[in-house]
Symmetry: D2
Subunit: 364 residues, 4 copies
Amino acid sequence: MISPGTQAPTDTADRQRALERKARENSITPFWTVVDQAHPTEPLSKLVPYVWRWPLLRELLDEACAVVDTSDGKAERRAFSLLNPGLGGRYGTTHTLISGVQKTMAGEKASAHRHTPDALRFIIEGHGAYTVVEGEKIPLRPGDLVLTPSWRLHDHGNEPDSQMVTWMDALDVPLVNLLDASFFEQFPGRAQALTKAPEESYHRYGVGHLRPSWEGVPDGLPSPLLVFRWEQTEEALRRLAQVDADPFDDVALQYVNPFTGGAVLPTIDCWIQMLRPGMHTRAHRHTASSVFHVVRGRGYVVVNGERYDWAERDFVVLPNWAWHEWVNLSDSEEAILFSVQDRPVLRALGLLREQALETNDGHQ
Amino acid sequence: MISPGTQAPTDTADRQRALERKARENSITPFWTVVDQAHPTEPLSKLVPYVWRWPLLRELLDEACAVVDTSDGKAERRAFSLLNPGLGGRYGTTHTLISGVQKTMAGEKASAHRHTPDALRFIIEGHGAYTVVEGEKIPLRPGDLVLTPSWRLHDHGNEPDSQMVTWMDALDVPLVNLLDASFFEQFPGRAQALTKAPEESYHRYGVGHLRPSWEGVPDGLPSPLLVFRWEQTEEALRRLAQVDADPFDDVALQYVNPFTGGAVLPTIDCWIQMLRPGMHTRAHRHTASSVFHVVRGRGYVVVNGERYDWAERDFVVLPNWAWHEWVNLSDSEEAILFSVQDRPVLRALGLLREQALETNDGHQ
Amino acid sequence: MISPGTQAPTDTADRQRALERKARENSITPFWTVVDQAHPTEPLSKLVPYVWRWPLLRELLDEACAVVDTSDGKAERRAFSLLNPGLGGRYGTTHTLISGVQKTMAGEKASAHRHTPDALRFIIEGHGAYTVVEGEKIPLRPGDLVLTPSWRLHDHGNEPDSQMVTWMDALDVPLVNLLDASFFEQFPGRAQALTKAPEESYHRYGVGHLRPSWEGVPDGLPSPLLVFRWEQTEEALRRLAQVDADPFDDVALQYVNPFTGGAVLPTIDCWIQMLRPGMHTRAHRHTASSVFHVVRGRGYVVVNGERYDWAERDFVVLPNWAWHEWVNLSDSEEAILFSVQDRPVLRALGLLREQALETNDGHQ
Amino acid sequence: MISPGTQAPTDTADRQRALERKARENSITPFWTVVDQAHPTEPLSKLVPYVWRWPLLRELLDEACAVVDTSDGKAERRAFSLLNPGLGGRYGTTHTLISGVQKTMAGEKASAHRHTPDALRFIIEGHGAYTVVEGEKIPLRPGDLVLTPSWRLHDHGNEPDSQMVTWMDALDVPLVNLLDASFFEQFPGRAQALTKAPEESYHRYGVGHLRPSWEGVPDGLPSPLLVFRWEQTEEALRRLAQVDADPFDDVALQYVNPFTGGAVLPTIDCWIQMLRPGMHTRAHRHTASSVFHVVRGRGYVVVNGERYDWAERDFVVLPNWAWHEWVNLSDSEEAILFSVQDRPVLRALGLLREQALETNDGHQ
C-alpha cells in the first residue's frame, strides 16, 4: 500500500513511461528523450571526400555520345551527376550541391526551361556551344563561368560544324529539395527568342568598375553579369599572385556580383584558386561544403588526415567541417582549381564557421 | 538489314544499360535517369496540417511536473516537442522548425548552454520565471517574446515561491541539422554570471525609434533587442487595426530588428496577428512553413480544402505551399495568433514565393 | 654674370607675374597663390556660441500675436528665426541649419506647401494645434517631434477654441541653399485633403520593433514614422538612464528611422538628452554643428573655454569643431535637451570627425 | 485718443516695425520678412557655362614650367585652377567642385600630405609620372583615373629622364569649405614609404567581379580600387556602345566601387561618355553640377539655349539645373568626355532631381 503523498519509484517510472507513450501517440515527443540527437555538439557530416577521375568521366561521356539518343531535344541526356558515396544514393555531391559533367555535339539543341534551383556552368573544353539565358545568347569558351540564376529561362546548344564541348554543371538542387522549394517549368516551344544582344550582360557589366550611368545597383540577389570570361579570371589570378595570398587557400579569388560585392548566386559561391608551384597550405575547416574541378596541374589534398591525389580535370568533393590542406606536387607549374561552395547559404543564416588547425604548425 | 558501321537497336540499348551500370558503380548517376525526381514541378510537402489541443498539452505538462525529475538541473526534461505526423517520426514540426511547450516550477534552474540553432520563447502563462541571455536576466511575463539567438549562452529558471510558468519554444533545429551545422556547448558551471543590468537590451533599445546616441546600427544578424513585451505588442495590434489590414492575414505584424528592419532572427520570422471578430480571410499559399499558437479566441483555418478548428492555446502547423484561409468564429471577440515561420531563410536564398487564390473570390 | 640661356631673377619674377595675370584674366587661378586659403588645416568656423533666452522669445511671440496679421492664411508670419551672430546677417543658426520659434492661435490655418528642405517641429507648449503631412493629420502635444520631410506637402493649423501653441522649428535651409537645390511649391488651394487616418504613420509604425507584415523596409531616406510622442521619448530616457550613459553627452538618444537605423531625416539628426542631477560631462568636439532647446532644467555649457548659461526653454547654438562640455546646475533635478544636428550630412560625405579633450581630465 | 481695446492702423504698423527691430537687435529675424529669399522656388545658380580652351591651358602650363620654381618640393606650384566666372572670384569651378590642370617635369617630386577633401586625377598626356597613395605607388598613363580619397596620405613625382606629364585635377574643396570640414596635414618628411606593392589595389581589385576570397566587402566609403586603367575604360565604352545608350548622355558609364556599386568617392561621381559620330542628344537638367574634360573629338553643348563649342582637351563646366544637350560635330569620329559631378552629394542628401525637356522633341 502506498502512503498518501509518496510514490514508489516503480510507480514514477511507470507513469513516466505512460506519459512518454501518450505523448508519442499524439505526435508529440518528450524532449528529454531526444535532446542529444537533436543537438549534436558539432557537425556529423555523412559526406566523404572523394575524387572522380577525368579518364573515367571522359570515357562515360564519349560512350554516352555514342549510345544516348538526344534527337528529341533532350540534350540533358548527355549529362552525369556525381553522387557522394556517403549519401547512400541520395542525389547530391554534397548535402546542398550537385555537380556533374555534360557533353554536347555539333548541331544539338536542348529545350528551354526554368527552375528555382540556381545553376552554373564552367567550360572544360571545346568551342562552338552556347547558353541562352532570358534572351541573351552567350558563347561558351574553355574556362568561362556562366550563370543561369533561379527561375531564369535557359537553354543551350551547339552550332552546326562546331567542336564537341564539355562542361561542368553545378546546381543547388539538393538544398532546394531539402527546403522543398522546387519549381520547374518547361518552355512551351523548343528555344526561346533572342531578345537581347549576344553576351549583352558582358557588354553592359563586363568591366566591373564601370556601370551604365543610367542604371542604379541592379535589383535582385544574383549577379547581373552572367558570364565571367577566362581571360579576365586568369589575369586576376596572376595579378593577385603578385601581391597577396591566403595561408589556407593560397591565391584564391571569389567571383562576386560587381555591384554588391555579394556571391554571384544567393546559394552558391564560386572560387578560382591558384596553388603556386610547390605550395603546401595550412589546414583549416569550415561549415561550408564544396566541389572542386581541377583546371590545371596535379597535387593532393589531405582531408581529415588522409591523402587524396588529383590531376587535371578531376573532380574533388570536400565535406563540410573537414580538416583540409592543399598541395601542389609540381615545383615548376601552378595548379588551378575552380570550385563551388554553399558558403553564402551558411553566411546568410548565421551558420558560417571556420577554424584553423593550431597544432603541428597547421598541418595534419 | 543493318549496314556496316551502324548498330542494331538492341546493341545500343545494351550499351546504354552497361554505361548506366558503370556510372553507378563509380558514384555517378546518369542525369537522364533522375531528372524528373530531381526537379519537381512544385513543392511536394510531406508536412500535414495538424492541431495540437491545449487540454492534452496541459495534461502532459502537468503529469511531467509530477513524474519527471529535474533536480539535477536538467529542466529541459519538462519540455515536449510537436512532431509533424507527415514526417514519419523525424524531429520537426515543419521540415525547418521545431516548436513545443515547456513548464517550470518554482525554484527550478536549468543549466546554461549555447547552440547554433536560433531559439525563442513565447510565454503562455504564469509569472516568476526568467531567462538569462549572455549575462542579461530577462523576467518572463505572459505574451512576451524572448530571443536566444545562435550561440548566445543562455539558461533559465523560476524564482522560489513563484508560480508555475508555461511557454512555447521554437527553434530552427531541423534546418540546422539539414545543413549539418549544429554546434552545442554545455556551460562549465550551472548558471552564468549576470554581467548586464536586468532586461538591459529592453532598457537600451525598447523604444525602437530611439537608440543610444553613441552606438551605430548594432552588428550581426539577430535583433539586439532580446525581449518584446506584450503590452507593446498588443498596443501595436490595436493601432494597426485602426488603419490597415491584409486580405490574407488580417491585422498582422512582423517583429523586426528595430535598427535594420530585418527579421528578429536570421532563420525565424515571428508574427503577431489579430483576426477581427467575424473575419474570414482570402486564401493564399507560400513557400514558407509556419507554426501558430493561439493566444486568444477560437476559429478555424481551411488548409488545402479541409477545415481545422482551433481554440485558445492550441498549436497549429501550416505546411509550406498549402492554400490556407483564416476564420474567427466569434462575432464579438478578436482572435490573436502568434506564429513562427521560416520565411527569412527562403527570402535570403531567393526562394520565397507567394500566390493568391484567384478563383471563387479567393476562397477554397 | 648671367650666361646665355639663363634669365635674370627679375625677368623670371616678371614673367611669373605676367603669367599669373594672364591666368586670372581667363578665369583661371594659379594654384600656388591660393593653396593655403583653399586648404585650411582645420575648420575655421565663423559660427559663435550663443544663447537665445526664452523670456525674450516669448515676448516677441506675444507681441507678434498682437500685431502681425495672419488672416490671409500666412501663419508663417508668426515665426522667428535665430541668426547666428557670427554669420553677419546670413540666414542660418549654423551654416547648415536654421531654427526658430513659432506661435499659432486658436482657429488659425496656414496654407499648404512643400519644399526640398527637410523640416521638423518640436512642440514647446499648448494643445490643440496640428500638422498635416501628405494627407495625414497629426495632433501636436508638448514634447512631440513631428517630421515634414523633403517635398512632402504640409500645412498646419490650430483648432477653434484651443490653446495657443508654441513650437520650435528646424530646417536645413542654409544647407540646401549652399547646395543650390531649393524647390518650393505653394499648394493650389488652402488646405490639402485628409487622405489618411489621423496619425496614420504612428498607428502603423509607432512600435518600432513591429511592422505591418505585408510591408518591406519602407523606401526612401526619411523615417516613415512622422511623429515621435513625448511619452515614448521620456520613457526611453528613463530606461537608458538605468543602464548606460556617454561621457560627453550623458544619457543621450538619437531618434532613428525604426526600419533602417538611420537618421530620421537625411540631413538632420535629432537627439534627446538627459543631464542627470549634478552632471558635469567631459569635453569633446566634432565637425557637426547643432542647435539645442532646453526642454527642462538649468545649467551651462563651456564652449572653447567660455561659459554659457541656459535655463528652461532657452535655445543654444553650438558651432562645429568647438570644444564643449555640459553642466547640470541642479543637484536634484535632471535637465533635458532636445537638439538638431547636421551630423548625417557629414557622415554621408565621409567628413564626420570627433575628438575627445585629453588634457586636464577632459575638462577645459 | 485711442479707445480701449482698439488700435489705430498706424499704431499696429509702428508696433510691428518696433517688434522687427527688437528681434534683429537680438540676432533674430522675423521669418515673414525673409521667407521668399529663404525658399527660392527653384535653384538660382550663380554658375555660368564656360569653356577653357586647351591652347591657352597648355600655354600657361608651359610658361609655368619655365618660370615657376618648384625645387623645394612644392610641385603644386605648377597647377592652375579653373574658376567659374559666375562665382565672382570664389574658389570653385562649380559651387562644390574645383578642377584644374597640372604639369610635372622629369625628376620632380611633390611633398606628401593629406586632406579631408576627396581628390582625383585624370591623366591627359605623358608617361613617367606616378602618384603614391598610402604607400602604394601608382604609375600614371594617359586616360587613367587615379583616386586620392579623403585623408589618405599622398604625394606624386616624375621619374628622372621621363616625359613631362599633364593631368586634370578635381577635388571637392568648395563643398568641404562650405561645410567647414577642412583638415590638412603636411607629412613630416618629403615622401612617404612604399609599404605596398606597386599598383597593389589594381592587382587586388582590378577585375571588378573577382575579389580576394579572404576579404569581405571593403570598409569605408571610397573605392578600394584606386586606379582605373584607360584600356579597361575604353573597352567598356566600346562594349556598351554595342548594346545600349542613354537619350541624354549617349554611351555613358559611371566609375563605381566594384564591391558596393556606389560612386568611387562619397562626394564625386566620375563618368566616361562617348558621343557617337553625328550624335545630337536630347536635353535635360539636373541638380548636379559637373566639369567635363574632352578626351577626344569636337562638338558643342547647348546650355540654356546657348551654344558652347569644345575641342580636344578643352574643359567645360555645366551649371546645376541648366538645360543641356550634347552634339558631336564629326560624322565619322566619336567624341569622348570624362567628367566629375557632385551627384553623390545630392543623392545622399535626398536632393538629386532630374528633368527631361518635353517640348520641341527634347531640343532647346
